[in-house]
Symmetry: C2
Subunit: 563 residues, 2 copies
Amino acid sequence: MHTLLETHLPTLKQASDACRTRAQWSGFKESPSTRLHGEEAPAAGKRAFESLLGQPFELELPGVTGHLGEEVSPYTREPLGIDYPVADPEISCRAGLEAMRSWRRLDPDQRAALCIEMLRALESVCFESTHATMHTAGQSYMMGFVGSGANALDRGLEAVVYAHRALTDLPGHAVWRKAFGKTDVALEKRYHFVPRGLALVICCASFPTWNAYPSIMANLMTGNAAIVKPHPGGILPMAIAVREMRRVLAANGLDPNMVLLAVDTRDEPVAQRYLERGEVAIVDFTGSQRFGSWLEQNLGNKRIYTETSGVNSIVIESTDNLDGMLDAVAHSLCLFSAQMCTSPQNIHIPAGGVETDQGRIGPADLALALAGRVDARVGNPAQAAGLCGALQAQNTVELLARLADRAADVGELLRAPEPYAHPEYPNARTATPLIIATERPGQDVLKEEHFGPVSFVITHADPDSALASAAATAATRGAIATHVYSVDNDYLDAAEQSFVDAGASLTCNLTGPMPLNFAAAYSDMHVTGLNPAGNACLTDLAFVADRFRIVQCRWPQGTRTTT
Amino acid sequence: MHTLLETHLPTLKQASDACRTRAQWSGFKESPSTRLHGEEAPAAGKRAFESLLGQPFELELPGVTGHLGEEVSPYTREPLGIDYPVADPEISCRAGLEAMRSWRRLDPDQRAALCIEMLRALESVCFESTHATMHTAGQSYMMGFVGSGANALDRGLEAVVYAHRALTDLPGHAVWRKAFGKTDVALEKRYHFVPRGLALVICCASFPTWNAYPSIMANLMTGNAAIVKPHPGGILPMAIAVREMRRVLAANGLDPNMVLLAVDTRDEPVAQRYLERGEVAIVDFTGSQRFGSWLEQNLGNKRIYTETSGVNSIVIESTDNLDGMLDAVAHSLCLFSAQMCTSPQNIHIPAGGVETDQGRIGPADLALALAGRVDARVGNPAQAAGLCGALQAQNTVELLARLADRAADVGELLRAPEPYAHPEYPNARTATPLIIATERPGQDVLKEEHFGPVSFVITHADPDSALASAAATAATRGAIATHVYSVDNDYLDAAEQSFVDAGASLTCNLTGPMPLNFAAAYSDMHVTGLNPAGNACLTDLAFVADRFRIVQCRWPQGTRTTT
């Protein structure tokens, strides 16, 4: 343990400083380059992934009653053929509670060191995990490595920072003296940091690690055992994570059951069986707004942290960089086939057109230009593969077909969602962006989230109504990332105030190589908790401070021999 | 504002340091002595109180539709005759939301300075407030001054500290730079601290200020307007507080509607009308476990912070100071007629008796000795008046009669709850403690809270079962303050672990002048949130961190002129 502390506490300090300054920092290797990882690592990671296929997944868990697995690769459309151990919920919960008892004796520094050791273990299998993410979520290789790897690990470390901060806000022990009349009273006080109970971490299919790592870390730091419940279509990345975390726990003489796995199938979901149990005190949920909202409304005796989804908007009023703006927006419409919680859907423009460095451009021309930029990005299959990846779910293919069919009801079909030919995986489930233009902003279809590469270019009477519509949708339907383009300072100020009121974070005039979707650990606040897109932020003090409680014990000073 | 900052920020710093060290500190005058307040202050405060009687209460509120008031003094049993303005909930909420818009521009330091100015204003009317508390809650003069005055103000300041800490955890503004490929991206980021909405602060009848001050302060600091909903039987102390806070807001050019008042009667309660409104995002509740639990379970879309009640236990295994222990316990059974959330109810002792510095004493003798110490405390009416005060509610009189009548069903009536003759108020609603001894620990009546001067001396087979029973009651029925007396280190360790598991704070072997009930601001953690006695702690990071959310706005560095 001493070595772990020496190795990892400097990292904790650096990460904590970054959280305070909100300046750029990363604790992990953000590129898959062999210069960082060595020549062998990428191929070895791929082989490790391949060796898992068609096999029972090797993971010892308490209370195993059978095996299951129904994952299908979005790239090959073949079953992965991996069976995972199924644990009995009651035995699993009992094992988690038991593990919490031994974990309790660790102080915040020790917990942080162990958590960072786990994150390092996850980094050591980053290539294996990348392929696991690709063949379950459909992410591209680069996104699987960076977004689901290094960036997700940074989010995990960020949660360690905040939990450590909350746990060290009080001393463990204090002496208190006060005169009552003529008598001095001196008391010793000990503060116990008591976890709430078990935490069920429910993961999404398309980007599981990015939310699950911080949730697991927040729970472990605050003493709650984490029961990881992956999406039935995306078990493997989380099974690998659970395997590595349990390995670190065991290697350090700790009960591995601080991290457990609960797998299920679409036909026989298991979450409810855990939610019914009183010892499950915390739920971390990433997924649909419907289920997230149900959890928030109906489980008043548990702490619920949700990140769901929303309808993200881009409002375009004017720009001094038309090409840069079109490129940035087109990139974001393609990136991971817009299967990200930060992907934009609604592009709001004024009927009078947009003033740009290339002159005023009308709504129809702007929409066409945008579609053209998308075409340019997906015309080359290799480029499309790197940018769009594959569609995680068959549902999304069907959604695209339905929306394309009824495009004329909504407005004008600007761009049809054709599959592209993936150069490496001929059977890959792919689609390029569907874009529909409309001059009728009031339609209900525009207020719904359409998960996948779907966007609407919506023409409004004027810039103010464009902004008001985007903000109203954010407030009522949720939004995680919104954007505005304007060279008018007053318009930007109004946009900032409108989106603050709607509880949606805003990015202004972003062009250049940083994707619109990018959210930086230690700097960007992700999900505000103020609109239906979720009730929690990854990661802030509120994300951690109520996962544990403080119980005190006090006694007259010097009257007790305690350890 | 500059002067306010200069005056009050040093106080904030001292209070913050106390919260970190948990050492003794107070920001307010903890004694009513004229040496601290001047010769005139006590009498002037009493006159101020008397001038309120039989009059409409002077308070301008938005949307007043009428007046009401039905308070009756527990000391005189006469109506106070004060009518308070009734505000229309919709207009009241609209006014609160409007006030929040101007409050927003204040930074955390400015908010803290204003909040401390409000606390100082409350201190300046401390004698008026003391009499208001006496004649609604039934507290004695000293308790009304210290417990409901200085100590409550300290709790309010403690909430200011934690909220300030949470609000300053992030900078308001940051610059972030990162290379994407060969391009450097530099973004400015602004973090908005956005309140959740309106907060309804529902107060209890017997000790309103102690919980309401921290709740109001936590809400104001985080930007949420506070709608104070006093108990219909205890409006006056909160109306005075609202009047003073609004006066400070107005005097500093701020919208006074950051603090509003919602009064009602027992027959026509108004809380539900506020709870139905979506803009009421936070509820701070002090009161019954039943309503608190209903709020927790059924208002999943609001943030609920509760302090309710529980069954507090004292476990006596052994002592090296029998006289000190008996005095301490007897004092606590009498203090404010045990109408405090920290009052003990169940006294658990082993059948084999208790080893003491005066030899082993059997359960029957111990119970009799305890009853004798109570007798000694309440035999002198002047002493009884200072210690017991009056019974807040007529219900309590009836409860005592019912329990005394059926004492033989439970065990043996050790001490009957006789009224004592209050020397100043002959009509005062008073009662001395009811004590029942029993050898049957399993009875349901022992697992319920009986609000008022009711206690049971419960004999168990052995010390371990005494402890187990007390801890089980705490876990399942809630407990806020528990006590153990033992000279055996191992027993103390076991007790500490048992109560930690039950989520109840523990005090060991307390004797001497500090009352068992005393909870020190900046040092003691009050309510753990781990058992049915409430879900929140006054005050910690969790009490404040989720009352506001963070919305960010980012833009390429240098591209925007912002204020």
